[in-house]
Amino acid sequence: MNRTIMDLWVGIFVVAGLAAILVLALRVGNASSTFEVSDTYTIYGDFENIGGLKVRAPVKSAGVVVGRVASIRLNAETYKARVTLAVDRRYEFPTDTSASILTAGLLGEQYIGLESGADEENLRNGSVLRITQSAIVLEKLISQFLYNKAAEGSIE
């Protein structure tokens, strides 16, 4: 079978298609900087209220992404939300690290912020965070504010 001009065009076509996928992956998507969950350790946190936290939300420390939320379940005994965090093995945190659910911007996505403590020992795979702070629920905040205002008014 002889090589034809058609083979050349099909070759160019296939290369262009694969290049398009590569462009999508590297330029449009985050394959180049994706936080890969290959080398992580898991820690748990029990929260009173997770607000709008979602699976795969980032875990940040000092604003740097150090992990992802792996799963969220309701602990049927304590009626708290048990959040599983997959944290990069390169980063270790003291055992008295506190986790709080924060919001990026006014209406942005929610993420977990880790604030490291000062303990000598570090968290290990399977550790449970002792200090957690729930998400701020806007309705609760507003109703608290209104009650306070009403109380002030009645005193005057």
Binding site: M1, M6, D7, W9, V10, I12, F13, V14, A16, G17, L18, A20, I21, V23, L24, A25, R27, V28, G29, N30, A31, S33, T34, K54, V55, R56
Partner: protein, 264 residues
């Protein structure tokens, strides 16, 4: 009165039975094409020919449509986003809509009308002029010699075309958003990269286009193979290819989307 009712019922019954018959025949046809595709692959030159005819020759329409769809997304997205003061999210909007939905779906629809109809017409005409029967007489299997290469040519081409559609579309959105309107280029790309996930968005988009490719290829080859051997029959089969493919693509898209992108 009673007779008319009975005739109506009979008509419904017949079309249901015909439909099931055709569906079963189509499944058997598809199965035979798949298990004999080893023979088609052993003569890969034939498949390359068909990739040329259905893929390379569809490039122009796919690239131009992708560019314009991306540019329209850029314009419309900007108009809406700027009201909420978040024009920087334009990159995210353009990229996510293209990669997840518009890239695979629109390129599949275009592909079905550009290449699918051509496949149906070619196979249908070969059948009408008894070329397929002639092959059988010569102990050449028309499923492996004619239908298989067409099938695989289409199934290989569509995912590549869809990826190019999305990439060109993002570029079109960039042209309008950043170059023409003046959204900050850094925010455009960085927000896009932060929001578009490789596995969750891009790979799922590619999976969608692979599924659509197989669907269009199966429908186009079957309609051609099943076409009544008349001029009218071939034209009807060509029309049915486009209509059935479009419906199948949209229905499959709904099903795939509902378990790819929900519940996250």
């Amino acid at each position: 009165m009673f007779d008319a009712l009975l005739a109506g019922l009979r008509h419904i019954g017949r079309s249901v039975i015909d439909g099931s018959w055709r569906l079963g025949y189509a499944t058997r046809f598809l199965w035979l094409v798949l298990i004999r595709s080893g023979l088609s692959f052993s003569r890969f030159g034939l498949v390359i020919r068909k990739v040329y005819f259905s893929g390379v020759l569809s490039l122009i329409i796919i690239l131009v449509s992708g560019l314009f769809v991306g540019m329209v997304l850029g314009l419309q997205g900007y108009e809406t986003l700027v009201r909420y003061g978040s024009a920087e999210a334009l990159g995210t909007l353009v990229a996510l809509s293209l990669v997840r939905e518009l890239g695979p779906v629109v390129s599949a629809l275009l592909f079905a009308s550009r290449a699918g109809s051509a496949i149906t017409a070619e196979i249908g005409l070969m059948k009408a002029t008894e070329q397929l029967s002639a092959m059988e007489v010569m102990a050449v299997d028309p499923l492996a010699r004619v239908v298989g290469p067409h099938f695989w040519g289409a199934a290989i081409s569509l995912p590549l075309l869809a990826a190019m559609f999305s990439a060109v579309g993002v570029f079109g959105g960039y042209l309008i958003g950043v170059v023409l309107i003046g959204v900050d280029a850094g925010a455009f790309w960085s927000q896009m990269q932060a929001a578009v996930d490789f596995r969750h968005d891009i790979l799922n988009g590619v999976i969608k286009s692979v599924v659509f490719g197989f669907a269009v290829a199966a429908i186009a080859t079957f309609e051609g193979y099943d076409a009544p051997p008349t001029a009218e029959g071939v034209s009807g089969a060509t029309t049915r290819t486009v209509v059935t493919s479009a419906l199948a693509i949209l229905a499959l898209d709904f099903v795939l989307t509902s378990f790819m992108f929900t519940g996250q």
